[in-house]
Symmetry: C2
Subunit: 218 residues, 2 copies
Amino acid sequence: MYSIAEENYIKSIYHLQRSNDNVGTNELAADLKTKPASVTDMIKKLQAKGLLQYEKYYGCQLTASGKALALSIIRRHRLWEYFLSEKLGFGWEEVHDVAEQLEHIKSSLLTEKLDAYLGFPRFDPHGDPIPDKQGKMISVEWQNLNEAPVGKTLKIMGVASQTQELLEMLSRKNLSIGAQLKITQRFSFDQSIEIELDGASGFNISERLAGEVLVKTI
Amino acid sequence: MYSIAEENYIKSIYHLQRSNDNVGTNELAADLKTKPASVTDMIKKLQAKGLLQYEKYYGCQLTASGKALALSIIRRHRLWEYFLSEKLGFGWEEVHDVAEQLEHIKSSLLTEKLDAYLGFPRFDPHGDPIPDKQGKMISVEWQNLNEAPVGKTLKIMGVASQTQELLEMLSRKNLSIGAQLKITQRFSFDQSIEIELDGASGFNISERLAGEVLVKTI
DNA sequence: TTAAAAATTTAGTTTTGGCTAAAATAGGAA
DNA sequence: TTCCTATTTTAGCCAAAACTAAATTTTTAA
């Protein structure tokens, strides 16, 4: 049985791994609103428990059992969000903090009965997929450029919104549907990213724009 | 905001106070499955927070705000028990441990929305009354002699079951409906109690028998 | 290539809630 | 009243999870 602190680390690492396979100490500390030194300590404990692989001064990645744990926490979180929203009438912005507490209740009987009671929902109120008992979930193929991994080849599938200004900017930059690109770098300074598009490299996209561009890993 | 450990202490003291206004350290340690020394430490902290009144080597009693806190925890606990049993189909013996975790979720919005969703139930699946938002609950007038307070005048209101053997024993002991009595002592050795009945004092009643005799404080 | 900056780890503390062993106190029996 | 016993408290520690400050390693830039 894992503590609430341990579960929160695992969940955070899982989310951070979506955009970059290796998760650094500072990054994790920022996400968990704690200090890097505390993260180092905890990461060692989690490695000892076999939940992740850690290399000094480099970073960490979840093991298979770490990922399975993360998915079970995410499952509980999203089921509770669904419950709060659908059954209790919470606004979608009110559900997160309460679900953050409820996800740590330890009882697999509770999780399974809740799932059945809700009718085995596939998506939470924010549209995120809910993992099933085995940790499988409907893969959400599209993600925006802020969430997409660095270094992998991506294909533009669509845009999140359709304003005139956005479409104008996209066509000017040759960011059209079907185009293939690769993120070469992510700048923490302003959250902007640098991409390589059709061979041409080094052009920069603001965080604002990147959030509108939906891509799929190929 | 109180920690889970603090809430568990308050809840335990509240329950123990029902049978004896003053709660001793050993008694509390046994109930919480911890050691007397740990209890002393925590009790001092709770007194500093104004939740209870404590006198060295004597014991403690909840203050008004301690009682209010206890009632709000009991409210959450019983609402969750009702939910687990009525909505999720838990067996009545399965609800307690899970409710024990759920009762510590901090969100008054959650408690109130859950209450409304359940239709403002007055009793949990075990028949215990659920306190309302203000901490008021339907008073369960009758209690058995094991739960009744020491020293207060009690009136016999009925019996829990109606077997021949029980009724025979009761009539022999003059324990008839309407009779008034007072508990003079509770023996931890065998959980038996000593009562004073119609002026005559010093007779002993086994735990088994006491559980069948329903009384009301007058 | 080397020095400065940034990221990360180590060492030493703190807080919370628990523990053991020893000391203190209260209450009952002789 | 005095002594014994049971209860309770004190003192000193431990583990988890955090923190600060200092040391170390990696990365970057001159």
